[in-house]
Subunit: 203 residues, 2 copies
């Protein structure tokens, strides 16, 4: 599980799944947006632990209204997690170095949001809809982009397994903060782990 995706820093309705808002009046649309913005901020800060009540307070609104607008906390969370991101460019680059570039992309300290996003998603992964979203994301982003460019057997499976590898790294680095790994030089991680990804894709 690896994500060039997640809780966005700002409201970005263009990227979000299209939801019918035509029945809403301007006032409703505005507070709805305020709730979503507060949710994005708090989910990014505290992960799925951010409570509906805290989000409502942040948006200056009653907790019940959050549920009325979005149906459930889980649904709101899913709306605040979008699957776009710069990862597409990495996947579309030269195939022979995609392994190292993927690892470098996620470990780049200039992209601290990726860490937040990964943590929020990993924490909520026990919810069915979140799990399905992750599977979908793996298929539509990674498998769709890479499998057609591979050669040999088990092309889709090898992409999925490379995604598994990537997710394992992020888990150890971001969630567990294993001192052996976090204490290592990024360049060593990129080389060792990137090559492992690469061999899975282009053996």
């Amino acid at each position: 599980m690896a994500y060039g995706c997640g809780v966005t820093e700002t409201s970005s309705p263009a990227r979000s799944a299209p939801v019918d808002e035509s029945h809403l009046r301007p006032a409703g649309r505005a507070t709805r947006a305020a709730i979503e913005e507060a949710a994005r901020r708090l989910f990014a800060e505290r992960g799925f632990d951010a409570s509906v009540r805290a989000i409502a307070t942040e948006a200056g609104v009653d907790p019940a209204l959050v549920i009325r607008h979005f149906g459930s906390k889980e649904a709101l969370f899913l709306r605040c997690v979008d699957t776009a991101g710069g990862i597409g460019a990495v996947l579309d680059g030269p195939l022979e170095s995609v392994g190292r570039r993927l690892v470098a992309y996620f470990l780049d300290p200039a992209r601290p949001l990726l860490r937040q996003r990964y943590l929020a998603l990993a924490q909520a992964a026990h919810l069915d809809q979140v799990r399905e979203e992750m599977v979908r994301h793996t298929a539509e982003t990674y498998v769709a982009a890479l499998a057609p460019r591979l050669t040999g057997e088990h092309r889709e499976l090898r992409v999925a397994l490379a995604v598994a590898q990537l997710g394992g790294l992020l888990n150890l680095v971001f969630r567990q903060e294993d001192p052996i790994v976090t204490g290592a030089a990024t360049e060593d991680l990129v080389a060792l782990y990137g090559d492992a990804l690469q061999r899975m894709l282009t053996p």
Copy 2:
């Protein structure tokens, strides 16, 4: 994160961390054991979602007593998760095939408890003490067993990264149940992913 460990199927005080019970009377010891047994069963069944109240009911006891005996739900969970298991034998076997044997060990359908254990731990991984236990387990079980037998640079780091790989696989198979991976033949997974582990350890 990979675990030959977890929620045990039976009470196994010999394996559990030694806790001073000398101040307890026989009655206290018995109900304490009953609570622990109920907790092991329910944690294995439902993961960390198993509630203190349900555990108490299962043990025929008041919820408050559970906390009084074990301090907190998190502490009880940690007691019910032990780090022993058959994994030691796998790690001590021939080094040149340890990658495939590790993957085969965890994916063996004859060991369904490993799945439960992984899921319970992964779900509780956002708790600090659980996270620390995982890090400790990686260091004491995997790194301690494998790093001294390796050659070349970054011996400890390479073991940690192999553990990361393994955890990534278990996440995709057990948590996300990604259809691409669950639909693949186990022998293909063992070959592809086991070799990836192997190359990390003995390149």
